[in-house]
């Protein structure tokens, strides 16, 4: 399958790969997908006292588009408030990366991942 340049760039130079301490109250963790389906994304956000995401890290098991979607997402959420991050839509990710129709589910997974990370953070600090 031929990939767009942006997917290749994120795949070859993924941004913000890594993990943060799950127990840290300032950290929200979202893990979505399933190995049986061929993709699992783990997205973590670190939120400061002003409610702004000051750091984001990811790890992804999946195809190139899944890796690129989560890498792009970490770039986008940094510096946003939680409310702003909630506004991110899978269609924006798919458009930015020019994902073909069979890869749209990768962007859906990325949207699920940020929602799950925010919800984890809010639960911890609720």
């Amino acid at each position: 399958m031929a990939y767009g340049n942006k997917v290749l760039d994120h795949y070859e130079n993924p941004r913000n790969v890594g993990s943060m301490d799950k127990q840290d109250p300032a950290v929200g963790t979202g893990m979505v997908g399933a190995p049986a389906c061929g993709d699992v994304m783990k997205l973590q956000i670190k939120v400061n006292e002003q409610g702004v995401i000051e750091d984001a890290k990811f790890k992804t098991y999946g195809c190139g588009s899944a890796i690129a979607s989560s890498s792009l997402l970490t770039e986008w959420v940094r510096g946003r408030t939680l409310d702003e991050a909630k506004e991110i839509k899978n269609s924006q990710i798919a458009e930015e990366l020019s994902l073909p129709p069979v890869k749209i589910h990768c962007s859906v997974l990325a949207e699920d991942a940020i929602k799950a990370a925010i919800s984890d953070f809010e639960k911890k600090n609720g």
């Binding site: 399958m1 990939y3 790890k59 992804t60 098991y61 195809c63 190139g64 069979v102």
Partner: protein
């Protein structure tokens, strides 16, 4: 270490380049100054010389498999051979019974043909292979019935390269008077086939898997005891009425030459390719959590199918972009389903998603293999650093105990 020429082709089970000697023969049978005639033309020398070339090719194909040249029917490839053999025999013998037995790991050309026969009222049993990919003979015997007319089991599997014991299967089917069809697209020219000894009734072949051109194949149809087929393609009555259509002289000549070369060079090709495959596996087996799919001993030399646990196959293929190979990952198929062959072996979905098929052939070099090993090692490390599953595995989390949200 000499540098290999990039990209490296390691997908010889998908197709092979045409051998230069084959191409030379083909060119001689196309243009005005060559033997371009219609082999069916009986009234002039153009037809006669084309017919002579077709006969020579038929002899070469028959010689590789120790058959009578009159048992060879030209087709457009192994897919057509499978269709003609299976539908042709099922239709001809349907008054005897309507039960067919095959294996879940067969090529789609066999599986989909059987599905079509089911729609026409046949009953088909699709047997599960054992974990190593081989047919379970006990299960097989139990599945045969009074009204079983046809068994279709492939010789060498296209994904995992395992070799079925078609000698033993043939003993059982012959004793019971059941027609036995074998798809030999992946075995001809790679392992010896002796149809005087094997009790196989129908066998499918392809030219492009062994350095011949695409678009040409053959079906072996046994004469003693005689096997009959209902034709699927009607017309001028070519190939003793079993497959009409003007013979593609240049394609046939190409297949004949490819089979002739295979007959002469099989042993040396085998030894060289096996040494390269061992070199590849020796270079990769030290990587943690790698698994060979399919039996390692009963396996064609050129195939190595490996799962790299906790890495998704398509992302690994992207990393190996200078190497042409295929994956059992869902993402490389149109259906988004992981390999049905690996699933039939009982491999879990993760391992099926994580599989790569390396296939080695006549023109693979040691430099190709060494380059591949280094790139695989580097890429596996990089992608595992990216993999949350690898991280969990390293933390001692049992992934099977996690409740995943299957989407």
């Amino acid at each position: 270490m000499t540098n290999p020429q990039l990209p490296i082709y390691l997908d010889y089970l998908a197709t092979t380049p045409v051998d230069d000697r084959v191409l030379q023969k083909m060119i001689e049978h196309m243009t005005l100054d060559g033997h371009f005639g219609n082999p069916a033309s009986r009234s002039h020398s153009f037809g006669w010389s084309a017919e002579k070339a077709v006969d020579a090719a038929r002899n070469n194909v028959a010689a590789l498999i120790n058959a009578d040249p009159r048992e060879i029917v030209w087709t457009s490839g192994a897919t057509e051979s499978d269709n003609l053999g299976i539908k042709g025999a099922a239709h001809f013998y349907q008054k005897k019974g309507k039960h067919i037995v095959t294996l879940k790991t067969e090529h789609k050309a066999v599986l989909d043909t059987c599905r079509q026969l089911q729609r026409e009222g046949f009953e088909v049993d699709y047997l599960e292979p054992m974990e190593n990919g081989l047919l379970d003979m006990k299960e097989f015997k139990k599945t045969l019935r009074e009204d079983t007319v046809l068994v279709s089991i492939m010789h060498v599997n296209n994904e995992i390269g395992v070799i079925q014991d078609i000698g033993a299967i043939g003993e059982i089917t012959r004793e019971k008077g059941i027609i036995f069809h074998v798809d030999a697209a992946q075995s001809a020219g790679k392992i010896p086939i002796d149809l005087q000894a094997l009790k196989v009734d129908l066998m499918s072949f392809s030219a492009h898997k062994i350095y011949g051109p695409k678009g040409i194949g053959a079906l072996y149809v046994r004469r003693k005891p005689r096997v009959r087929l209902e034709a699927q393609m009607h017309g001028g009555g070519h190939e003793r009425g079993m497959r009409s259509g003007t013979l593609a002289t240049h394609q046939i000549v190409g297949m004949g030459e490819a089979f002739r070369i295979a007959n002469e060079e099989m042993q040396q090709d085998h030894e060289r390719i096996l040494a390269l495959r061992d070199r590849l596996w020796d270079g990769m087996k030290g990587i943690e959590e790698v698994y060979i799919n399919g039996d390692i001993d009963n396996r064609v030399a050129g195939n190595l199918n490996i799962s790299f646990n906790f890495i998704e196959g398509e992302s690994l293929i992207m990393a190996l972009k200078d190497i042409a190979l295929s994956s059992g990952s869902a993402c490389t198929s149109a259906s988004l389903e992981p390999s049905y062959v690996l699933r039939a072996l009982g491999r879990n979905d993760e391992l099926a998603h994580s599989s790569l098929r390396f296939s080695i052939g006549r023109f693979t070099t040691e430099a190709d293999i060494d380059y591949t090993i280094e790139l695989v090692k580097k890429s596996v490390t990089r992608l595992r650093d990216l993999s949350p599953l690898w991280e969990m595995h390293k933390e001692g989390v049992d992934l099977d105990s996690v409740e995943w949200a299957v989407h």
